[in-house]
């Protein structure tokens, strides 16, 4: 087990290098000059522009940070490979660079924003797990009942709605019409509602679609397991339905559900651009999206790398816990056929 984890962690390194190399390459492909974007429509004066480029290592400077000029008196653009090497070097000192737009260290921005994404993801995943698994179990156990139809109907509807639209409907109902929950944002020192209330609507929106999937997976898994021989045997032995479900069926049926929920948690930690946009939630999804539109590459690279690493860590945890839940799975063999 330990060996397996070490191996998986070592795999992070090539993935990290791959992701950062791709993002560095993107800088050449994506149109737009990030430094010109700082000033927007108003053009920066050439001297200022040059200084800013030098500060961010986009043009060559000597060891005293003086700008180097070529024989024509023009600045020399730092080649992308060299910027990449510099980036890796800085990274070893924990420096992810500085935002072009705001002059703030990228690490600070990540530390400022990530807690919001994390908090929302935790609340979201709790909703998803409780409501999704609960609804799935009810609908499987009481198959063809009113509740089963209700769950099936609700999940079908949920997965056919754009999540951002679900968010707006919630805002309309609870914020505008009923006035019981804040429409958006997070609580400040002088907020109208208690801080926890600000999490409810965005977390529900974030979890809505995947809760529907969780319920469906739970239902079908449970129905599947209930048809298996050992359950039939248990039934034949006269165990009550409730006992069978609790003691035998649930444990096996839960495995794929836990995997799904776990991986979805990873996905939530990657930030949710649309949910964050609808609710003005200051998480990393929106931050990254805005950084892409502003070509603020240090933020984009820092955020995406961070997201990918977090997702990989979560997946690793899911895989490891999967092995604990299901002894039939042996870690170390290649990923199950997909």
């Amino acid at each position: 087990m330990g060996k397996y984890i070490v191996k998986r962690v070592l795999q992070f390194i090539p993935v990290f290098l791959g992701v950062t190399i791709i993002l560095f390459a993107m800088q050449n492909i994506v149109p737009g000059d990030p430094i010109k974007l700082i000033a927007g429509e108003r053009q920066l004066d050439p001297v200022t522009e040059r200084n800013i480029r030098a500060t961010h290592g986009l043009i060559e400077t000597d060891e005293n940070d003086n700008i180097i000029y070529d024989e024509n008196g023009d600045t020399i653009e730092t080649p992308m490979w060299k910027r990449y090497v510099n980036y890796l070097g800085d990274l070893l000192h924990g420096d992810l660079g500085t935002s072009y737009q705001r002059g703030t260290a990228v690490t600070d921005i990540i530390l400022q924003r990530y807690p919001y994404t994390l908090q929302l993801a935790v609340v979201g995943i709790i909703i998803e797990a409780i409501v999704g698994i609960g609804a799935g179990i009810i609908s499987a156990v009481k198959r063809y009942s009113f509740w089963d139809v209700l769950v099936t109907l609700a999940t079908s509807l949920l997965v056919a709605m754009p999540a951002f639209w679900i968010g707006m409907l919630l805002q309309l109902i609870f914020g505008v019409w009923l006035h019981v929950l804040p429409i958006s944002g997070v609580a400040g020192p002088i907020a109208q509602y208690p801080a926890w209330m600000y999490y409810i609507l965005p977390a529900i929106t974030l979890a809505s679609v995947s809760t529907a999937y969780t319920a469906r997976i739970m239902r079908s898994q449970l129905l599947d397991v209930m048809n298996q021989d050992y359950i039939r045997t248990a039934k034949a032995k006269g165990l009550s339905k409730g006992a069978i479900i609790r003691k035998h069926a649930l444990k096996n049926a839960l495995i794929p559900v836990v995997t799904y929920v776990g991986m979805d948690f990873g996905a939530m930690l990657a930030g949710a651009i649309l949910t964050e946009t609808v609710f003005s939630w200051p998480g990393i999804g929106r931050e990254t999206y805005v950084a892409i539109t502003q070509r603020d590459w240090p933020i984009v690279i820092g955020m995406v790398t961070c997201i990918v690493l977090v997702v990989m860590i979560i997946n690793l945890i899911v895989d490891v816990s999967y092995a604990f839940l299901d002894p039939r799975i042996r870690l170390g063999s290649s990923k199950s056929e997909s």
């Binding site: 002059g103 400022q112 958006s184 946009t277």
Partner: protein, 552 residues
């Protein structure tokens, strides 16, 4: 920073085009705060006599990079520049300087005498050296994040050298003695005193150089309010009255800048009684006026007249690509301008709060008929007439309307498109991402492109020179009229104010005949103050005047 802005957002965000000004910001709202970390913010905020002001997250609150109106609001409260603009008299008036500067005969040297006994918030004395220090930070290319607003000092001798790293100081700035500060320009610029009002040109104590990182988060100024703690990003900034302030003591105890990411939640908080000043969201202006009353001048809140609808020094306009064969013809540009129903746009989309543009600059700058552009009227018949007189068949004209698709401009553009199609011109819209849009603008890859201009200084020069001088940075379509260039050069040297204004009027008129740009509307702010405000002024340059604010 002179850029377009939108009253719904900070200029910077709007310029960044990253947020759809109307749509994304619309409903969503947010106080990006963590309830648990209120700290002293909460105590200050709960103070009776503290002004609770809505802010969206500023870019910088350190004066060396003060550009958008969010950061500027904080800088203005915490720093005093040499001079300031008096909106009552519409002229420059001394602030940290004891009097207006004396100007040498050649118009190149300005000598300021500082007030005595001024102190920074940390107790250091404010002297001429501190102004030199503060101003030079704008030209210091070695700062962790160099200033983007150094261009304000471009007229000063030695600025270019320091910015280029060839000199360690700006030679044109001299601290003659503790209270005498001398500024030498490279060429006469009669409006230089207006430049000195810019919040970026503030003095800083030695601490700014010793620990720039700390200064960035909690600047130490010489203004009427001092920052109590470092900026709590996305949450709040608190300032309290500076007891050793040299001027008249403010009537309020402090300012609590409540940072919210969109105006809508701010407005909700305002309605819940948690803010004293907030922006009014789209579509709710009339309702707000009905409820809180409208201020007469649009800039001052008093009880019962709490809604501020005031024209700002910003123009929304289209720039014509002169390389486009159709648009190269002045008749076509005039006809297009005449065909646009500006009143309809402001009435439908802005509840009539913004003003249709009748010139490139709002008349509040210089209220004179001569500044009004003839072809900014709405007269589709005349537009058709002009085209037929010039022998142009409208159906042969085909132009694109270019803009960034993420800035909430769709409705304005669709409306313009419909107006132009009504006189037979074929118009297609071309939306691009913000970054691509800027590339296209620089590359001349557009037909009619959207631009905005917000004045740095409330002067005619600031609307005309940067946009229409042949070599100016912001002259995107390379408008080149030698007559205008010569007249602008000449006007900058006219010392007499009335004479100078008259010279600029003539220039403005000439440009209005050429129509290199098609002004659409003037921005206006729409804010509302609480019943607690006995008096609070928010001026046309979007500067809140906390120093004179009074709460009940």
């Amino acid at each position: 920073m002179a850029d377009i802005k939108n009253s719904a957002l900070s200029r910077r965000q709007f310029v960044g085009g990253a947020l759809a000004a109307s749509a994304l910001a619309a409903l969503a709202g947010c106080s990006n705060n963590d309830g648990g970390t209120a700290g002293s913010g909460a105590t200050t905020a709960s103070g009776e006599n503290v002004f609770r002001f809505y802010l969206s997250e500023p870019a910088y609150i350190d004066p060396y990079n003060a550009q958008e109106n969010q950061g500027t609001a904080v800088v203005r409260a915490t720093f005093d520049t040499l001079l300031t603009w008096d909106w009552d008299k519409n002229e420059v008036t001394p602030l940290a300087a004891a009097d207006l500067p004396t100007v040498s005969e050649d118009g190149l040297t300005y000598t300021f005498t500082l007030r005595e006994g001024m102190k920074f918030h940390n107790g250091d004395a404010v002297d001429a050296a501190s102004f030199k220090r503060g101003w030079e930070r704008l030209a210091d290319g070695t700062m962790a994040s160099p200033s983007e607003i150094g261009y304000h000092l471009a007229p000063v001798a030695g600025y270019a050298e320091m910015a280029a790293g060839e000199a360690d100081e700006i030679s044109g700035l001299v601290a003659v003695d503790d209270l005498t500060f001398q500024v030498t320009l490279t060429a006469p610029m009669a409006d230089f005193t207006a430049v000195c009002c810019h919040p970026g040109l503030a003095p800083v104590p030695q601490a700014a150089l010793d620990d720039p990182a700390a200064f960035l988060e909690q600047p130490i100024g010489n203004g009427p309010f001092k920052l109590d703690e470092p900026w709590q990003h996305n949450q709040y900034i608190t300032a309290s009255r500076f007891e050793d302030y040299y001027g008249e003591a403010p009537k309020i105890d402090g300012v609590y800048f409540n940072i919210q990411s969109t105006p809508d939640t701010a407005f909700t908080e305002f309605e819940g009684g948690n803010l004293d000043f907030a922006m009014i969201p789209t579509g709710r202006i009339q309702e707000t006026i009905d409820k809180y009353g409208e201020s007469e001048d649009g800039f001052t809140v008093t009880p019962g007249a709490q809604t501020l609808i005031g024209t700002e020094l910003s123009t929304y306009y289209l720039i014509c690509n002169m390389d486009n064969p159709s648009l190269a013809d002045v008749n076509v540009r005039r006809a297009i301008s005449l065909a646009i129903n500006r009143q309809n746009i402001v009435d439908t989309l802005y509840e009539g709060t913004r003003e249709p543009a009748n010139s490139i600059m709002p008349l509040v700058i210089d209220d004179n008929e001569e500044n009004v552009w003839e072809y900014c009227a709405y007269d589709p018949d005349r537009a058709k007439q002009i085209l037929s007189d010039a022998g142009i068949d409208p159906s042969t004209i085909s132009v694109t309307l270019d803009y960034n698709g993420d800035g909430g401009h769709e409705d304005i553009m669709s409306s313009i498109q419909a107006d132009l199609q009504a006189i037979g011109i074929t118009v297609t819209q071309n939306t691009t991402e913000w970054a691509t849009y800027l590339n296209n603008l620089s590359a001349g890859n557009y037909g009619l492109a959207r631009l905005g201009w917000t004045a740095d200084y409330p002067t005619q020069d600031n609307f005309l020179y940067p946009n229409f001088y042949s070599t100016a940075d912001n002259n995107y379509n390379h408008y080149n009229n030698p007559e205008v260039d010569a007249a602008l050069d000449a006007a900058r040297q006219i010392a007499d104010e009335e004479e100078r204004k008259a010279a600029y009027r003539t220039i403005c008129h000439t440009i209005g005949e050429d129509m290199p740009v098609i002004p659409i509307m003037f921005y206006a702010h729409s804010y509302v103050g609480s019943e607690r405000c006995v008096s609070f002024n928010y001026d046309a340059q979007t500067i809140p005047h906390f120093e004179t604010a009074e709460l009940a």
